[in-house]
């Protein structure tokens, strides 16, 4: 063990100077990553676009519904002559999009 500890190897003084000029500059930034992983990036982008489009089309959130809007407008006309009816507001009801709850709404 003593032999090992006494045997210290020192690098040659000009070793690093000899290596440094041969090293390529280190790549930095996202551009390098995108160049190297071109296929993966394209796939990830396409997947995200498809997911967003699917969410917009199939999301189970209530959506405006013309038929329901018609019934709301009919109801507004039934309320038209109530005392102190807000007629300016009722006139606006017909233009307001109406969302229908999913069939689970009980």
């Amino acid at each position: 063990m003593k032999l090992v500890s006494d045997y210290a190897v020192e690098p040659a003084p000009d070793l690093w100077d000899a290596i440094r000029p041969n090293l390529a500059p280190r790549p930095s930034g996202i551009g390098w990553w995108l160049r190297v992983h071109r296929l993966q990036t394209a796939l990830a982008g396409a997947s995200a676009a498809v997911a967003i489009a699917a969410w917009l089309v199939f999301a189970p959130t209530p959506q405006p519904n013309l038929e329901a809007q018609g019934y709301m407008a009919s109801h507004a006309s039934m309320s038209w002559n109530e005392p102190f009816a807000d007629k300016a507001g009722l006139g606006l009801v017909e233009t307001i999009p109406v969302s229908v709850q999913s069939e689970g709404g009980r």
């Binding site: 109530e82 005392p83 300016a88």
Partner: protein, 342 residues
């Protein structure tokens, strides 16, 4: 008693009497009744802003110019989603002028001759102070429902003309649903009679069943006898049967219930579903199955279809009838009403 005293004492007595009357706080019910009468007699022009609360904190806002003469009015929507639309109201019908097609769409509106008494039996008017609206001094009158299940209203009534210059409506949940406020009003203006007529050369279209009122007329128009609900919320009274139509020209029966300030509409039609397109997804897709056994809402029970700040729509089926109950009242009341059809 000298001559001076004989002159002064009666004057003092009269002035103290007048002073006593004017010091008495005005009666909210009297203010309300006076305002109700003024609604059918007032003559003026003005500009107002109206705002409807929508879902998720959104709102729709519009500036409107208004001309009123007697029981008639003309409203021109200057900004907002209805910009360009003109509505003429003659007290019996509402005419919507579409400038792009030069067409006037006319729909009859239910009459409400005596409902101020009904309103006062269901609401407590309370004077809630004074405020200035459109430069006019107003009484603020709050209409508090006797049943908490009902919507409420706040009115700003002009102290001189008795015209309601601001209205705020609150849903049965206590949240504000709409607000309309005059920005300016001119009582010296005299609107021309032509303002309340359909312009010459325009096409007029009477909307489906516009003049069909009463059970017989409705039965004839829709081809079945409309059913009445077994339960009606306390304070509501049946008004009449009407015929209504959707933009797709589907005729349906309408029954109107009112408590004097709030209307509950019952719409009925034959078929397993309430018209094509009444489904999810911007009026397409699932709705196409309706009427062919694919309606997602058929079957027993009540289903909440629409939950808007202005009104809810609850759906149920009774035999081969499809029924929609529409109104702003506590959901439990609306469901109880929808569930009471036999």
């Amino acid at each position: 008693m000298n001559r001076f005293a004989r002159l002064i004492l009666p004057c003092l007595a009269i002035s103290s009497l007048i002073g006593g009357v004017s010091d008495a706080s005005p009666d909210a019910e009297a203010i309300l009744r006076k305002s109700y009468s003024a609604e059918s007699q007032a003559r003026y022009t003005g500009r107002l802003t109206t705002e409807l609360v929508r879902e998720a904190g959104l709102s729709a806002k519009a500036d409107v110019t208004i001309q009123r003469s007697g029981g008639m009015s003309r409203m021109e929507y200057v900004t907002g989603p209805s910009a360009g639309t003109v509505i003429i109201d003659d007290g019996r019908s509402m005419t919507r002028l579409d400038a792009s097609s030069r067409t006037a769409y006319i729909s009859e509106t239910p009459d409400a001759p005596e409902q101020i008494d009904l309103l006062l039996s269901n609401y407590q008017p309370v004077l809630a102070g004074d405020a200035k609206i459109a430069g006019r001094q107003c009484y603020v009158v709050k209409l508090t429902p006797k049943c908490a299940c009902n919507p409420s209203e706040k009115l700003w009534i002009d102290k001189v003309s008795s015209v309601a210059l601001k209205t705020e409506k609150y849903g049965s949940d206590g949240k504000i649903t709409s607000s309309t406020e005059y920005r300016s009003v001119d009582y010296s203006a005299r609107p021309a009679a032509s303002a309340f007529r359909v312009p010459s050369g325009w096409k007029t279209v009477k909307l489906a069943g516009a003049s069909a009122v009463g059970l017989e007329a409705v039965r004839k128009a829709v081809g079945f006898t409309p059913k009445k609900p077994g339960y009606v919320p306390n304070g509501y009274r049946f008004d009449d049967y009407y015929v209504r139509g959707t933009p797709r020209c589907t005729l349906f029966a309408g029954l109107r219930y009112t408590n004097g300030m709030n209307t509950i509409s019952v719409f009925e039609r034959k078929g397993g579903c309430f018209g094509p397109g009444f489904g999810r997804g911007r009026g397409r897709g699932r709705g196409a199955q309706c009427g062919r056994g694919g309606c997602p809402w058929t079957g027993p029970g009540c289903h909440l279809l629409v939950n808007n700040p202005q009104a809810r729509i609850v759906h149920t089926t009774v035999g081969d009838l499809t029924v929609l109950v529409v109104g702003d009242i506590a959901l439990t009341e609306l469901q109880k009403m929808a569930g009471s059809f036999k």
